[in-house]
């Protein structure tokens, strides 16, 4: 029962939604609307599961004093502190989500700068990695290196000043060899996704059940 019911839900739901997509009839549209109303509600339960699972994993790490267990506090404290500050904490004491509030302050002046900083660091690491990795060690590595240099110069105004063919060649690389390679990858991934989805819908692939009912 524990396996059959979820498998049936996936089978019926999967086929229904696949067929519905291609039928522009009102009944089909009603099913679709019904689904789009329900899906966010069902998805919100996944959030509860996710928070529960995250809490359990990190609480376990802290209890066992596993490697870097201190960082688990850095996950758990904000995870629970932010909702408390935003939803429960009295407004007279800086609660609530709108400015001015502690929640808003932490969001605007801690979370956002941290995210921006993390991404900004990429420029430094890319420069260091380019210095060490882009070596003409073989014919293929040389092609990669030259393509990288041409595209990099083609993307910036100074490339145009060095030679008008830089942007043209850079764009040609992006529009043709790059496009062909990307399309091949996307087709491969697409067929893979289609096969996996069909396997899940028809119950061939059952790992998502997590071993229930075995």
């Amino acid at each position: 029962m524990k396996r059959t019911v979820p498998l049936l839900i996936v089978l019926v739901g999967g086929i229904l939604m696949m067929v519905q997509y291609f039928i522009p009839h009102q009944v089909s549209q009603s099913i679709f609307n019904y689904y789009t109303d329900w899906a966010p509600i069902v998805s919100s339960f996944a959030l509860i599961l996710g928070i529960g699972s995250l809490t359990r994993v990190h609480a376990h790490k802290i209890r066992r004093k596993a490697d870097n267990w201190q960082y688990s506090w850095a996950v758990l404290i904000p995870l629970y502190l932010m909702p408390v500050l935003g939803l429960i904490w009295p407004k007279s004491m800086g609660g609530g989500m709108d400015a001015p509030s502690i929640f808003h302050f932490m969001y605007m002046y801690i979370q956002i700068p941290i995210q921006a900083t993390m991404f900004s660091l990429l420029a430094f690491y890319i420069a260091s990695a380019a210095f060490r990795a882009f070596r003409a060690k073989s014919a293929l590595a040389t092609v990669l290196l030259l393509a990288a240099v041409v595209v990099m110069l083609g993307q910036v105004p100074i490339g145009e000043l060095l030679g008008s063919w830089f942007p043209k060649l850079g764009l040609w690389i992006l529009r043709y060899p790059n496009l062909a390679a990307k399309r091949a990858i996307m087709l491969g991934v697409g067929f893979g996704m289609l096969a996996t989805n069909l396997k899940i819908i028809f119950g061939v692939e059952r790992n998502w059940l997590g071993g229930v009912g075995k």
């Binding site: 789009t36 993307q155 910036v156 992006l174 496009l179």
Partner: protein
């Protein structure tokens, strides 16, 4: 000191010197402002021309699908297209695919409406022009006439009025955004009964004229992740909504197949794409000057040149020091 050890030292240079170099070239151009010319490409021109062909009877979506990490690249794209749309009186719906993306949406509209921004638009909040709506006036020119007849004057430096609910709607974030896109193909109001300020979207003139994505002319997804593809999958393929991409430079290479098939109208790739759009806005007199992306291109030029210099130096040291031979002797590649 032998020659080999010099090459060896060059190859093993402390990476903090590289970091310092990047740090310097990232800061100095902001002060020197070279203003190197930016040449426009077909991918960006196609978006510009499409938006330029729209008018007050049309509408576009600008979807904020990026977080603060990529705002340096994505934000100028969104700002440029919003300013273009405002200039042509094209209503702009703004959405966000995740809660943090909504912050980016608010930052973008705040920038466009901020009197300190060169070439700003004067904001008229939804509640302030209620009297005009109650009279049943929905045509934009008539709204402006009625508003100015009430004694309101456009401030100095403002390029025009921006009526909330007629020129823009801040729809913001709604959970499970891919389903929200699907849902909006039937009704925008069902997915967003209120905007982020609590205004009922059903009372907004732009919602009366554009009830669903089927009645919208384009979506620009400014994205720092794969969310941009949702718009292709759930809106372009289902109802044929024209989709334009504004993606980060590292992502730009991924989406050329979509442009070639015509599934995507055009693409602004990274800061360069945004700078191209800014150049076209300035050249056509839509904005008084270029903006942050164009300024940032000087930094990017300097940084790219430095990285290329590092690559050249690394290769010179590698070959001059004979490391390519050693490597082969040790057991090949």
């Amino acid at each position: 000191m032998s020659a080999v050890s010099i090459w060896e030292r060059m190859l093993n240079i402390d990476r903090r010197w590289i970091f310092l170099g990047i740090g310097i070239v990232s800061v100095v151009p902001f002060f020197l402002r070279f203003g190197l010319p930016v040449v426009t490409t077909d991918e960006v021109e196609s978006i510009y021309n499409y938006v330029d062909s729209l008018g007050s009877e049309d509408a576009i979506f600008v979807s904020f699908d990026f977080a603060p990490g990529t705002q340096a690249e994505n934000m100028p794209m969104a700002v440029a297209v919003i300013r273009h749309a405002f200039h042509n009186h094209v209503p702009v719906f703004m959405t966000a695919s995740f809660p943090i993306h909504q912050t980016m949406m608010i930052s973008a509209i705040d920038y466009v409406l901020n009197p300190q921004t060169e070439g700003f638009y004067q904001n008229v909040p939804f509640g302030e022009w209620e009297r005009i709506r109650e009279k049943g006036i929905t045509d934009r020119d008539e709204i402006v006439a009625a508003w100015e007849a009430e004694g309101n004057e456009l401030p100095d430096g403002a390029l025009g009025w921006a009526f909330e609910g007629r020129d823009y709607a801040l729809l913001g974030f709604a959970p499970v955004f891919n389903l929200v896109i699907l849902g909006m193909t039937n009704s925008i109001e069902t997915q967003y009964p209120q905007d982020i300020n609590g205004n009922p979207t059903g009372e907004m003139p732009m919602l009366h004229e554009h009830k669903s994505l089927r009645e919208v002319d384009m979506v620009l997804t400014c994205s720092g992740s794969g969310v941009c593809v949702w718009w292709v999958t759930f809106a372009r393929e289902k109802i044929g909504l024209p989709v334009a991409f504004g993606v980060t430079a590292v992502m730009a290479t991924d989406y050329y197949p979509y442009i070639q098939t015509g599934q995507v109208l055009g693409q602004m790739g990274g800061l360069r794409g945004a700078a191209e759009y800014e150049v076209m806005l300035e050249e056509n007199g839509i904005t008084p000057s270029t903006d942050k992306a164009f300024t940032g291109m000087d930094v990017q030029s300097a940084a790219h040149i430095l990285i290329i210099l590092f690559i050249i130096i690394g290769n010179i040291a590698y070959f001059a020091g004979g490391f390519h031979k050693k490597r082969l002797l040790k057991g090949g590649r």
